[in-house]
Symmetry: C2
Subunit: 360 residues, 2 copies
C-alpha cells in the first residue's frame, strides 16, 4: 500500500469510488473517553488552553490514531472559537458547559459585531492544523471543521447551551432581518475560517449543524440551510478540490435539500436507517454515519450486531464512511472502540479482486 | 349553542367532523406562565402536593379556562405518577427536575417491579378527574393523560432527566428482553390507568411520548410504538367511544406508523409542516398542533402571522385541533395567549351556513 492521500479510503468513499472496506472515524474521537486525553487535558489546565495551544491540540488529535486503525483525523478544536475570537468572552463553567460573557441579544448587538480575519485572528488553529498535518501519517487525511452559523448563533444569543432555544429562536421570530444578517456574517467568516484551515493543511472539511433540528421547516431553510449553502458555495469556488461534509443533526426531513447544496458528504444521525437515507439522496453524495453512539457503552456483542446492521443497511454501494450518529461519550471503554473498528473492517471487507467470491 | 359534549368542537374535530372554527387548547396550559398557578403552587408548598391534592389539581386545571376561550381542559398531573406509585420514590430537586430515589437499572430490577391497581393505588388522580369533570362547563371535554412506556421508562432507568439517555438506551441494547418486559408491564398499567381516568370522568385521552425521538427506527418500533399500540388496543376494547391522541415528539418519520395504531388523533411538533403531515396520514386521523411554542414569547405580530401559517398549512379540511408543538413555557406573558386564541378564531372561522361566501 502506498502512503499518500491518493489512496485514502476516506477520501475515496467521499468521492463515491469503490473501496475494499468501509473507512471509519468517530465524531469526538479525540476526547474524554481516552485516558491519555484526560492526562493532556489536565496538563493544559483548561479546555481552552488545550484548544488554543497548537502542540497540545496536535497531541490529542493524534492520540486516537495511535490506538485504533481510523481512516481520518479531525482537528481538535471547538465550534465556539469563532465567536470567542469576535470578543464574546468564551468561558467554560464546571457542569455548565460553554458560557459567553457578552451574548448577542438584539439587532444592535448583531450590527456591532466585528469582522474577523481567521488567518491572523485565529492563528493558533492554523498553526495546529499545519502541525497536525506534518505529524500525521501521509495517507491519513485531516478534517478541518466549523460549526454551522445557526448552531454557533444559538450559543452567541443564549449565552450558553439551551433546552428550548427560547432566545435564539425568539430572535428569528422577532428580528428576522437582523437574524438573517447574523447568519450571513457568520457564514462568510466561517467560509474564510474553513478556507484558512485548507490553506494550513486540512484535506477535507466538515460543518456541524448540531441544532438545526430544533427549527421549523421554514426557519431551517431560511436560517440554517441557506447559510450552509452560502459556505459551501464559497468554499467550492475557492477550493473546489476539498470535499465538504454537512451534518445537520435531527434533520432527517431535510436530507434531500442538504444533498442539493453541492457538498460531497452528509452526516446521518441514528434516527433513520442509513439505507433509506442512501435511497433518498441517490447518487448525489456520500453518507457518513450512523451508529447510535450509546451502542459503544454496551457490550461487544451489541457493538458487533449494531455495526453489522449499519453496514448491511447501507448495502454494497460506494460512498459510505462509517461513523457514529453523534459524538462518542466519555463513559465508553476504549476497548469497545477496538471491537467496533474490527467489526467494521470484518463486516465491510470485499473479496480481493480475482479471488473467488465464496473463497475461504 | 347547547351546553353538552355533543357540541364540543374538540371532540368533533377529533372525529374529523366539520366545525365552524378550529378548536384549540395548549399543552401545559395549566402552568407556570399563569400568576394564579404560581400562587396555588406556592400555597401547595411543592409540585407533588399540588398534583396529589384533588382540590388543588382541579383548581389549576380550571385556571386557564377562566382566562381564555379554550376548547378542552387537561388534567393537571405528571407522567411520573405511575413509577412513583410503584415505589421508586419520586422527588423534585430544585433546578434539577424529577429524581427517583430507587431507579431501575437491571433485568432483576425490572422483574421485581410491583403491579399496580390504578383505581386504588392512584386514587388522588381519579378523585381529581371526578372533581374537575363536575366543575368544568358541560360542553368542555376533559382530557386524561399518561406518559408513554418508553418515555416513563427513561426516567425510571436514568433516575432523572438525561441528555443522551445512555442508561435507558443502553438497557435496550444490553437487555432487550427485560426492556421489552418493562415496556409491556408499563403499557398494561398505563392502559388501566387511562381507563380508570375514563371511569372517573375523562372524555378523551392523550399519551405523551416525549422521548420517542431519541431512538433508532428499530428501537422506536419495538420499544415505543409497540407499547403505544398495546395501550391503544386495550383502551379501544374497553372504552371504544373514548378518542385517543398519541404524541411522539421528534417522530415525524413515524407519522404513518402512528396513524395505523387505531388512535383518533396525532400530536405534531413544530418540526414539520402540518399540511404535509395531513397529506401523509390522509383520512386516518385528526392532527393536533403545531405552533412552535417559542412564538408565544415573541410579539403579537409574530403570533398572528405564525398562527395563520399553521391554519393555512392545514387547509380547509376537517380534523384539526390547534395546539402548540410542545408545552407552553413559563416566560410567556398571558396576554400573548389571548392574542393567539383570538387569532386562531379569526383565521379559522368559516362563513355561517347560508351566508354569502364573500359577505362582510
Amino acid at each position: 500500500m502506498s502512503d499518500s492521500l491518493a489512496d485514502s479510503l476516506f477520501l475515496k468513499a467521499l468521492r463515491r469510488e469503490p473501496v475494499h472496506r468501509t473507512p471509519m472515524w468517530m465524531m469526538r474521537q479525540a476526547g474524554r473517553y481516552l485516558p491519555e486525553y484526560r492526562q493532556t487535558r489536565e496538563r493544559a489546565g483548561s479546555f481552552l488552553v488545550l484548544a488554543k495551544t497548537p502542540e497540545l491540540a496536535c497531541e490529542v488529535t493524534l492520540q486516537p490514531l495511535r490506538r485504533f486503525r481510523l481512516d481520518a483525523a479531525i482537528l481538535f478544536s471547538d465550534i465556539l472559537i469563532i465567536p470567542d475570537a469576535m470578543g464574546l468572552g468564551l468561558g467554560f463553567e464546571t457542569g455548565e458547559g460553554p458560557v459567553f460573557a457578552r451574548p448577542v441579544r438584539s439587532a444592535a448587538d448583531i450590527r456591532n459585531l466585528p469582522g474577523l480575519d481567521p488567518v491572523s485572528d485565529i492563528r493558533y488553529v492554523m498553526d495546529a492544523v499545519t502541525l497536525i498535518r506534518r505529524e500525521l501519517p501521509a495517507d491519513i487525511p485531516l478534517i478541518g471543521f466549523a460549526g454551522s452559523p445557526w448552531t454557533v448563533a444559538t450559543y452567541m444569543i443564549e449565552g450558553r447551551g439551551s433546552k428550548d432555544f427560547r432566545l435564539a429562536k425568539g430572535l428569528l421570530y422577532s428580528e428576522p432581518e437582523a437574524a438573517g444578517e447574523l447568519m450571513n456574517h457568520l457564514a462568510d467568516i466561517t467560509a474564510d475560517y474553513l478556507l484558512a484551515q485548507v490553506e494550513a493543511g486540512a484535506n477535507a472539511l466538515m460543518i456541524f449543524d448540531t441544532w438545526g433540528g430544533v427549527l421549523t421547516p421554514d426557519h431551517y431553510r431560511k436560517f440554517s440551510l441557506e447559510s450552509l449553502q452560502r459556505i459551501t458555495d464559497r468554499v467550492r469556488s475557492k477550493a473546489p478540490e476539498i470535499p465538504v461534509i454537512l451534518f445537520s443533526k435531527g434533520c432527517a426531513a431535510h436530507l434531500e435539500a442538504l444533498a442539493e447544496t453541492g457538498c460531497q458528504g452528509l452526516g446521518v444521525d441514528w434516527t433513520l436507517n442509513i439505507g433509506e437515507a442512501r435511497k433518498r439522496v441517490g447518487e448525489k453524495v456520500a453518507l457518513q454515519g450512523n451508529l447510535d453512539p450509546v451502542v459503544l457503552n454496551a457490550g461487544p456483542e451489541a457493538i458487533r450486531a449494531e455495526a453489522a446492521k449499519v453496514i448491511e443497511s447501507f448495502g454494497p454501494h460506494p460512498g459510505h464512511i462509517f461513523n457514529l450518529g453523534h459524538g462518542i461519550n466519555p463513559a465508553v471503554p476504549p476497548d469497545h472502540v477496538r471491537v467496533l473498528v474490527e467489526a467494521v473492517e470484518e463486516f465491510s471487507r470485499k473479496p480481493e479482486k480475482g479471488s473467488p467470491a465464496n473463497g475461504v
